[in-house]
Amino acid sequence: MSDLAMLRTMLLIRRFEERAAQLYGESKIRGFLHLCIGEEAVAVGVSAALEPDDNVVSTYREHGHALVRGVGADAVMAEMFGRSEGCSGGRGGSMHLFDVQHRFFGGNAIVGGGLPVAVGLALADHLRGVQRTTVCLFGEGAMAEGEFHESVNLATLWHLPVVFCCENNLYAMGSALTRTEANTDLVLKAAAYGLAAWSADGMDVRAVHDAMRRAVTTVRDGSGPVFVEMRTYRFRAHSMYDPELYRSKDEVAEWKHRDPIDLEVGRLRVDGLLDDAGLSALQDDVQREVEAAVLAAENGTDEPVEQLTRHVYADAAEEVRS
């Protein structure tokens, strides 16, 4: 992926989520909506280091992760409108985006819940001799859950091809890292399980990409799992209801100076790869893509209520597909 393409994807995620927030205000999107605005470099840099058939397991803050893996903006938007054209058929909503064709395995809204599943996906590849990496994304808050510790130990013990990718945005809802972890050095903590571990500047898409490339290379070499901490920051509230009593406006403003999009735009300008016209062309382009997705979602269809109890067990048609 070129640097310009990485920038475009960050712009797409930003625009997509700004629009989603508006639509939430209009009650078109409901439930919980967690935005990754400020953290786009992580999604883009991580994905750029992956092959199309690598596995990704994510959290409820996953619009960016889904978009970078090739899940269409229209399919994600339709999902948040609860339409049957959505990537999860309208059953999941914002927190439960799934697209098996793109090997995007959710969309898990239980903190830490995705980690054991990622270990299992990697175990299956290991048992079948398939060369593939499974990336599991989670917030630093998950590192307090038992599921983190059990999963990292298991994957390391069995030398499984997993990259545990922690998006450390310093807060789990309103709980600052320093108030929830006795040892705030996440790399040291993970490394205690005997796997390779390092961190990267999560506001810099190139740094994320490099750190992730190293991780994927290590995993593909058969050296077992890797833990990577991406140091980032969420610019918006935890979800749509959050009075943000736990952090100062100054702190947020400080981090906004390190906006991953501004950083990349600046670099590309210096390198002569981007000018004002080029930037606004990119912005228009992503704007068009997002608006087309919104329009399609507006015009989408609702699944008939008679089908309410579908997808609880495999029906014959589903059996054939899998």
């Binding site: 409901r30 439930g31 919980f32 999902e79 609860g82 339409r83 999860s88 309208g90 059953r91 999941g92 909503g93 927190m95 439960h96 898990n108 809204a109 239980i110 903190v111 830490g112 819940g113 808050g141 998950a142 307090a144 859950e145 038992g146 599921e147 789990a172 809802m173 309103g174 709980s175 600052a176 108030r179 929830t180 972890e181 959050d242 009075p243 009593l245 736990y246 609702d302 699944e303 209520v305 309410l308 109890t309 997808h311 609880v312």
Partner: protein, 325 residues
Amino acid sequence: MSITCRDAMREAIRQALIADDRVFMMGEDIGAYGGCFAVSKGLLAEFGPDRIRDTPLSESAFVGAGVGAAMAGMRPIVEIMTVNFSLLALDQILNNAATLRHMSGGQIGVPLVIRMTTGGGRQLAAQHSHSLEGWYAHIPGIKVLVPATVDDFRHMLQPALDDPDPVLIFEHALLYNAEGELSDGPSPPIDKAVVRRAGKDITLITYGGSLAKTVQAAELLAAEGIEADVIDLRSLRPLDDATYMASVRRTHRAVIVDEGWRSGSISAELSARITEGAFYELDAPVGRVCSAEVPMPYAKHLEEAALPSTSSIVAAAREAMAEDA
């Protein structure tokens, strides 16, 4: 005085903290964040971080720590954000809290209160919307309370803390903004069901988040000339058999309304008990209105179809009334 269920519970917690220095509260984001449903808002400032303890995301550890502290004579109130997350602590709740008294031959008691939200209706999909209180009511050794009114939000906590055994309180998330008048009189004991609306024709049995829908259904039925007795169970374990059974003996017809899934549910238990205890009094099969047997879907129209509604309650009551006596 009109008050919301949220404020009523906050006041109950405040008074408990003031009255007894063995009481403290712990849970995720109850302090600095102000509580994910703002129930504990302001308590950190008033009582300090020792007694309003923010925990990491470690449900098993802090629920288990509540068990240990209760064993040692403290009176912890543990808050779990929602019932789906309580599953990460199920081991501590079932294998420790519920069993320690018995396993230790009566030496150990666990006077612990665990509060959590329950229920659907907010488009939060399949990992944040379930109603597992009936499931918890399966477990001997714990008590399960399901407040539905401001009075119960205000007055169930203290008796729960006074109880020598673990008590789980399930608060339907849609009730927090519900307002009502706090009454002056003493509240009934926590293990007693109460009649919320009197009627002679049919008994509607419900609890928690379904009470308002059921009362509404009763009003609609009244317009058709059907007078429903509405029973608010208040406690799912123990069940106050005497109260709902007396009603069924009077009306000869019963419909149970329960937001849990139908199979193996508290509604199934109630139906079985009615059959065991009042079979010859019944003029119609016991009816049930439950959630559809599906993980909660996100889409609004599907979620609405999955949950008990006023119209489905009315329909079930009409069906029970249609049976010949």
